[in-house]
Subunit: 391 residues, 2 copies
């Protein structure tokens, strides 16, 4: 596609944090982008509002209970309305668009992403769980597809940018930066007592609830490590987690000659979204760029694996391979949901993950139906553990 | 030239800091590089020693007084020996080599670099004064020559690496980092009293005397700004000097989308030399890479133009254009030499530069003979000022 053509964008998860920021970018460059599909899980009013503003061809609401009010809200528009997870996957596979932004939360991103790959679309990947759950499968599909992935996560966008113009074979290490989250400086005792409100208070990034909790537990960084492994074809032992509390250096790549390249910017997801949609072009931004004098001190330290066990479990899961990362992801989704509802304490989330990893049957080389079954089985086991913990 | 072929290297200034480190790299990769020409100003014993080790086709000593002892020292080798500045320029223009490393000190780099461009050679540019004195001329020559420049200065190597794979038109700003030198934290009163030994004690880099004094006065950073202007075709108002005392981030490039790319590494000139000689290949290094945990805090601040006036004079000189940077360079060479001999104080160097800039006739669009004449005239005026100051 030529740079000058209008790019048609499907935004899966348009009412979430990444989704709304994606629409900001689409609105910022009306001569470059057009929203053609918008989907949401349950926020049908916001979805209707977005549809009135962007007039996509199609909107889909995952929760079928909201089909009727959404349909009625858009009755006087030409926008087509559909409902259900199946309809979202169908849109990813069949709708008329150029780039899909996969901004759904968690496991639900998997099937639509697979459909988009089968359709040979460009994927602006914001749903890291897709690669966590099915990295091997997805990587295999990409190898025989016209589809390509451009990362949206700020860290992976940084790595992608650092590798631009470089030979992959000359990159020796990925330095994946982590803010360390709101609990970086707490003692183990203090960590026992943190509340949901504490965990939702991220120091640098404004994000959805799930990823904010995952950031506080450093599960997010573990998932990003797995995502980096699959996106950039590097081994986990060549990925170093570097805690960088200011979130200005978004990640780095070390090369065989000892040179390191880093990508920096203000902690604002509009930047990597703009990069992913504009790629290979960099689109001029109107907002003020990073003033390094305002962030005059950048610090770097090693992560504390003892205090944040989920980060280590991610390394364990990818070392084991097969369906183990899928198991960890399912257990974590249940644990985060339970923590957000006040059912368990922050420090109990790793306990659920660990026991679920031990109890769910291991499959070394799972296909898609086996991954779907693993997700269900691991979710059920995590639920069992949660029930027992509260007995 | 294919990567697998042996690259023949001419090292102009082989006995200086950059020169000896270049020979380290040539020795490190004997299947890739061969030293074919070595030249020095006056250190004939070291040059003879290097010639015995590397067996180049030709060695040239600039100071003709040392021709005979050098010739005798190499009488039992097949190495040809020549002497004089003219012979160095002839070697740059006529010898059989692929890459010339221009590692001479100051203005003396100009003529050999011009001859190398005329001969269509690849230039690993370590002599920034060449572009300071004659940037416009050199840039014009490069545009109609097969010759290309790969920078060796760590800052320009960093910028070059950050621009790799990027469109120049999408780069909006260069962030040129500066250690700030040994006197960064001194008060104006303390600066009045610094000694030569103080000025030669650079906090991070081990370099020759001239560039170490220029680092202490920040003249070096001003010259690097001018070098960056010509190398990367950007305007001085789009070059920001950022003081970064740790010398780990070697420079940065900001793009139109607000993204910044940085290149980092240990402060060791072997890295940018290895990059320049290997380009476009990155050569595996045996030394330990940067451990960010060892440099856990990186700081950034604005430079103090009042305390280091020579930095501002560089911006003045390039804004004025023509032969003004050449005048500044000539005055500075005289001032540094006088400071090193204890004839003037550190804070008197800018006085000499300023007065020389005021008194030397301005030429808006000088050709090479006019630049040569400017250098001589400005040097004479600077000498006058020095004589008067000591009267």
């Amino acid at each position: 596609m030529k740079d000058s053509e209008l790019k048609r964008i499907a935004v899966l998860g348009s009412t979430g944090s990444i989704g709304t920021q994606t629409l900001d970018i689409i609105a910022e460059y009306p001569s470059m982008f057009k929203a053609s599909v918008l989907t949401a899980r349950s926020k049908w009013q916001l979805l209707a509002e977005q549809a009135r503003k962007f007039l996509p061809d199609l909107v889909v609401i995952a929760d079928e209970a909201f089909y009727t009010p959404l349909k009625e809200a858009l009755a006087d528009t030409p926008v087509k309305v559909a409902a259900g997870d199946r309809a979202i996957a169908d849109a990813a596979g069949e709708a008329d668009y150029d780039i899909v932004v996969t901004a759904m939360v968690g496991y639900s991103g998997l099937l639509p992403t697979i459909r988009a790959i089968e359709a040979g679309k460009t994927i602006a990947l914001a749903n890291k769980e897709t690669l966590v759950v099915a990295g091997q499968l997805i990587t295999g599909m990409l190898a025989s597809s016209a589809s390509e992935i451009v990362p949206v996560d700020s860290e992976h966008s940084a790595i992608f940018q650092c590798l631009r113009g470089e030979k992959r074979s000359e990159a020796s290490k990925i330095l994946l930066t982590a803010s360390g989250g709101p609990f970086r400086t707490l003692s183990a005792e203090q960590l026992e007592k943190v509340t949901v409100a504490d965990a939702l208070r991220h120091p640098n990034w404004s994000m959805g609830a799930k990823v904010t909790i995952d950031s506080a537990s450093m599960m997010n960084k573990g998932f990003e490590m797995i995502e980096a492994k699959w996106l950039f074809g590097c081994q986990p032992e060549n990925i170093e987690i570097v805690v960088h509390p200011q979130s200005i250096v978004h990640s780095m790549v070390e090369f065989v000659d000892g040179s390191i390249k880093a990508q920096l910017g203000v902690p604002d997801m509009h930047l990597p979204i703009r990069y992913a949609l504009g790629f290979p072009q960099r689109l001029p931004a109107s907002q003020a760029p990073l003033q390094l004098s305002q962030y005059s001190t950048l610090t770097f330290e090693a992560p504390d694996y003892a205090k944040f066990p989920l980060l280590g479990y991610a390394f364990d899961a990818i070392a084991k391979g097969g369906n183990m990362p899928c198991i960890l992801n399912a257990a974590n989704e249940k644990a985060v949901a339970a923590f957000l509802k006040g059912r368990i304490r922050f420090v109990e989330m790793p306990v659920i993950a660990q026991e679920t990893m031990l109890r769910t049957p291991f499959i070394a080389d799972p296909d898609l139906p086996q991954l779907v079954a693993t997700h269900e089985e691991a979710s059920r086991i995590a639920d069992d553990i949660l029930t027992r913990m509260q007995a």
